[in-house]
């Protein structure tokens, strides 16, 4: 894992006297007009930094524009050129092209394979710098992460909430025909870059999930011929099977926020129940015990509750129980069937898959089941996962027919900004923000 150093720049730009509304995007506002910004190529301060200077600005722009909250102004429209990181900003030139935010940056290379990235964010209409300048130091092969960190800082300063760009997604890569599909675990940056594989395609793998700090992945594999749960170390790609009882099958694993417990489904005979296993002690606890199907458990971020799906009422519905098991409260009451609930990292919402009248939807509801909103509709959408800041959901969309294939999509919790992220992929799990 790349080490990155973050420091605040000592020099602060002169405070301007001009007054205007502070630069701000209210994420809960019903109508968000994308905020226009300018991100000129960063200044290359050493020989050999030119390519990084262009690429860093491009990735920052792509992150911000991709969020649907910002709109990049074309470089062709720029009046001023940024020639030095420390020269005063010509606010009038940026106002004239209606740039509300200006991002400037500089990059230099060191002799030992590192780069230093600096940036500043300006509120053009207030003629003021927004927050302190920041500096990141890291290895050259981590330059995209530094761009994501710049974009996260901009997002965070303008929205008042944490960003999500410096994060990764683990998923299932899918190739081959529908009746003999080859599946393997893949990992990529949140935006689909830097794709790598974590397993070969020898056995079916399903539904990988990150540990709370992103260092491990827990998933289901058929490598023994039967579905069993494996834990994989992301750095070494070493894996081990979770202990289980002979003759049983297990799947749908997910970590508890403490990183030590995992919940999963275990099938004995015809019955599927939810169990908890402590990875350290190996102690196993049965959390549900009805003859119905109980699966897809997900912890609340404080670790005190578990949301899961059960067909104990006759059809698939969502229930919440204490993390210790026992009585459960049904929270889904709309038309159709509900599955794959996932608790938001902010704790306020539960995302789910809904099936109704032959269509599939990704939706969100409050944790008591109120305020249900459907964000998508298609032949087959399923398996939501949350961005680290709880503002974006990624999921699998599968197309119909013999040539049907899976693609990862993302959508805002407002239902805006639906877009494809990665083709030939399913079962995404979003990491926390990287350190």
């Amino acid at each position: 894992m790349m080490k990155m150093l973050l420091t605040c720049l000592a020099f602060v730009m002169a405070v301007s006297a001009a007054q205007a509304e502070p630069l701000r995007i209210e994420l809960d506002s019903p109508n968000i007009e994308p905020l226009p910004f300018a991100a000129p190529a960063f200044i290359a301060e050493t020989a050999g930094a030119d390519q990084y200077a262009r690429d860093l600005a491009a990735v920052v722009s792509s992150d911000l524009q991709g969020s649907g909250l910002f709109r990049a102004i074309s470089q062709d429209a720029f009046i001023s050129q940024i020639t030095s990181f420390d020269s005063p900003v010509q606010y009038a030139d940026w106002k004239a092209i209606n740039a509300q935010a200006l991002i400037t940056g500089a990059v230099s290379t060191t002799g030992d394979g590192q780069i230093i990235v600096k940036f500043r964010l300006f509120d053009v209409f207030s003629e003021d710098q927004l927050g302190e300048g920041l500096q990141f130091v890291g290895s050259t092969n981590g330059w995209r992460r530094m761009a994501h960190k710049v974009a996260d800082a901009v997002y965070s300063r303008i929205t008042g909430e944490g960003g999500y760009f410096d994060s990764r997604v683990v998923y299932v890569s899918e190739t081959g025909p529908k009746n003999a599909r080859l599946k393997r675990l893949g990992i990529m940056d949140y935006d689909g870059a830097n794709q790598q594989f974590l397993t070969d395609a020898q056995a079916i793998v399903l539904a990988p999930r990150f540990s709370p700090n992103g260092d491990r992945v827990i998933y289901t594999s058929y490598e023994s011929g039967f579905p069993k749960i494996y834990v994989l170390d992301v750095a070494s790609v070493g894996r081990r099977v979770l202990q289980d009882q002979p003759g049983t099958m297990s799947f749908a694993p997910r970590f508890a926020p403490n990183g030590q417990d995992v919940v999963f489904s275990l099938t004995t005979g015809s019955n599927t129940d939810i169990y908890k296993l402590n990875l350290d002690s190996g102690q196993r606890t049965q959390l549900t015990s009805s003859p119905a199907i109980e699966t897809a458990p997900s912890y609340s971020p404080d670790g005190t509750q578990i949301v899961f799906e059960s067909d104990r009422s006759g059809t698939q519905q969502l229930y919440v129980m204490s993390a210790g098991g026992g009585e459960a409260t049904r929270i889904s009451f709309g038309q159709g069937r509900y599955g794959t609930p996932v608790w938001s990292p902010r704790g306020d919402l539960i995302a789910f898959t809904k099936q109704n009248r032959g269509r599939f939807h990704i939706g969100v509801m409050r944790t008591d089941g109120s305020g249900e909103r459907l964000l998508t509709a298609s032949f087959l959408d399923e398996g939501p996962t949350w961005s680290p800041n709880g503002r974006v959901i990624m999921f699998t969309r599968e197309t119909a027919g013999s040539g049907g294939s899976s693609t990862l999509y993302s959508v805002d919790i407002s239902g805006r900004n639906l877009k494809a992220v990665q083709a030939q992929a399913s079962d995404p799990s979003w990491s926390p923000l990287l350190k």
Binding site: S265, I293, E309, Q355, S402
Partner: protein, 172 residues
């Protein structure tokens, strides 16, 4: 011709089993590999030995079907499973794995659990008809291995299935 195709597939399955390869490995799509070199007339006219796995798979039928979101054994399935049980009772050197499958109209985890229900329902019927418990194992594939790939009820009906896969050996 239809029978011929089935025999070729079966031959391949047995060949795989003989190589001690996992019976679950459906990714190897070598079924058609040697087809052109076989004598079509000779194979299609030969009668199957009632004690052969080929007889089990083709004449009795290795597959039973289920209604949408159900794991109830219907009359057709009952007839098939009764014959499967007779065959297994007459051929005690074989064991079987019962696979449960679902159509694509459902979420992944739920379909795994549903496939497990279907496999268990078929297994339980075989056990109730005298097959020793330790000769049968179940596995669910959920919606991961559809038999038919179209997205209409015609295909879905074929995919909601339990398949009894025979292998040599007396079980655990």
């Amino acid at each position: 011709m239809k029978t011929f195709t089935k025999v070729v597939v079966l031959t391949t399955t047995l060949a795989l089993a003989a190589c001690a390869k996992s019976p679950f490995d459906r990714s190897g799509n070598g079924a058609g590999a040697g087809a052109g070199s076989l004598d079509n007339g000779g194979i299609s006219s030969s009668a199957l030995d009632a004690n052969s796995p080929a007889y089990f798979n083709q004449t009795i039928g290795d597959t039973v079907l289920f209604a949408v979101d159900q794991s109830t054994i219907n009359d057709t399935a009952r007839a098939t499973l009764s014959q499967q049980a007779n065959w297994l009772n007459n051929n005690t050197t074989y064991s079987a794995i019962v696979e449960g499958h679902a159509d694509e109209q459902g979420t992944r985890e739920y379909n795994l659990a549903l496939g497990a229900r279907r496999a268990a329902a078929a297994r339980d019927y075989l056990v109730a008809n005298g097959v020793a418990d330790n000769r049968l194992r179940t596995v669910t594939f959920g919606k991961e291995r559809p038999l038919a790939v179209c997205s209409t009820e015609e295909c879905y009906a074929k995919n909601r299935r339990a398949v009894t896969v025979i292998s040599a050996g007396v079980g655990s």
